[in-house]
Symmetry: C2
């Protein structure tokens, strides 16, 4: 399967070209047809090949595999930072687009998400899920479905590690930190509801930049402290 994928993405197998038949692959690779079928099934799932019953398997016209992010095992802190930078790029623009295009209902959804964070903080909870829902509401308000989709994708790779950061703080520090975050959120909401893209952009950028810097310091400490 890896071999076929390499042949395709490298261009050795041109788009539209016909793959060897399953029987030919069986003989060439010395494995059973079951294994060959499973391999081309994986390629088809990634959109790299299309199969036509009775005819054969062909390289897709636009061989565009999905976008993946390295598995957790290779996700050292520096990789997380890279993903967070990508997230910053997307969210900063999303805030500006939301300020330009959001309708009343979408602004209301953002406000509700903000209040949900407030409620969680009052109960002394971490509000990780609420925080993500807030950012997601902004992405929804862009009117561009790719933004919330991509943000959800990135979130599933970054969110699980946010708890690490929180655990190092004491309870008092943690509370102060969360309240400052909420204040940053407030400024973003103001920028969007005032239809001020530049302000929304600035506020979101500062918010995420601070988050990124905190994480970067943590990464430095980790590097010097343990490894």
């Amino acid at each position: 399967m890896a071999r076929l994928a390499a042949d395709i993405s490298s261009g050795r197998l041109a788009p539209g070209a016909r793959l060897p038949t399953e029987q030919a692959l069986t003989e060439a690779l010395g494995v059973s047809r079951t294994v060959v079928r499973e391999a081309v099934a994986a390629l088809r799932a990634d959109g790299l090949v299309v199969t036509r019953r009775g005819s054969g398997a062909y390289v897709a016209e636009q061989p565009a595999g999905p976008f993946r992010i390295a598995a957790p095992r290779t996700s050292v802190l520096s990789d997380i930072l890279d993903v967070m930078e990508l997230r910053l790029a997307v969210e900063v623009e999303a805030a500006a687009l939301a300020a330009e295009r959001s309708n009343r209902a979408e602004v209301g959804a953002i406000r509700n998400a903000w209040r949900a964070i407030d409620g969680a903080l009052r109960k002394g909870e971490g509000a990780v899920a609420e925080d993500f829902a807030f950012h997601r509401a902004i992405a929804e308000a862009t009117g561009n479905s790719q933004f919330p989709r991509f943000l959800t994708f990135l979130g599933s790779h970054v969110i699980p590690r946010q708890s690490v950061r929180l655990s190092v703080d004491t309870s008092a520090e943690r509370r102060a930190y969360l309240e400052r975050i909420q204040h940053e959120h407030e400024r973003i909401v103001a920028g969007i509801s005032h239809r001020d893209p530049a302000e929304a952009r600035r506020a979101m950028r500062e918010h995420l930049t601070r988050s990124l810097e905190r994480y970067r310091k943590l990464a430095e400490g980790e590097k010097h402290g343990r490894g």
Copy 2:
């Protein structure tokens, strides 16, 4: 396969939970084991489940599927615009990061890519590949590998349709358009090599915004003209 994927992403099957055995699924769904195996293989390829030989199949701890973009059949013009907006968000930030962090070699690579476009234009070619290589060189110069990876992914979904835009112009218009593009590129290069993130950001934003606006007008014309 769709049913299992829905059960997982909706949370009905909690992370770490064990899937029904292949035999159980064959009986429940009324299909052979071959089909069941192909379905769970697709899920495993997407990272939603992990299988352990002799034990069973389990929902992944962090069920994070890959990021896909709708297949070409649903890619009407408005979808392309959505993807282009996402690309704008990423590239604008990439230009700024490149201005901050790029080393001499990376700036040289960007310059070479720019000259390659120039050469293609002089030969009267379209320079689509060279244009993409230029943007990719900037993404590389961020030092964040996620940027070029994501840009390549987006490019494979957007690039194939750029030729549509060019084909509507006459030869003279086309030449003037390409030279204006190249002038915009020049400004981006200047911003990056002068280590001016704000200017690089502005230049890239204007460059891509214009491209987006052109495409948007085309979409409007398409909508009113044909359908």
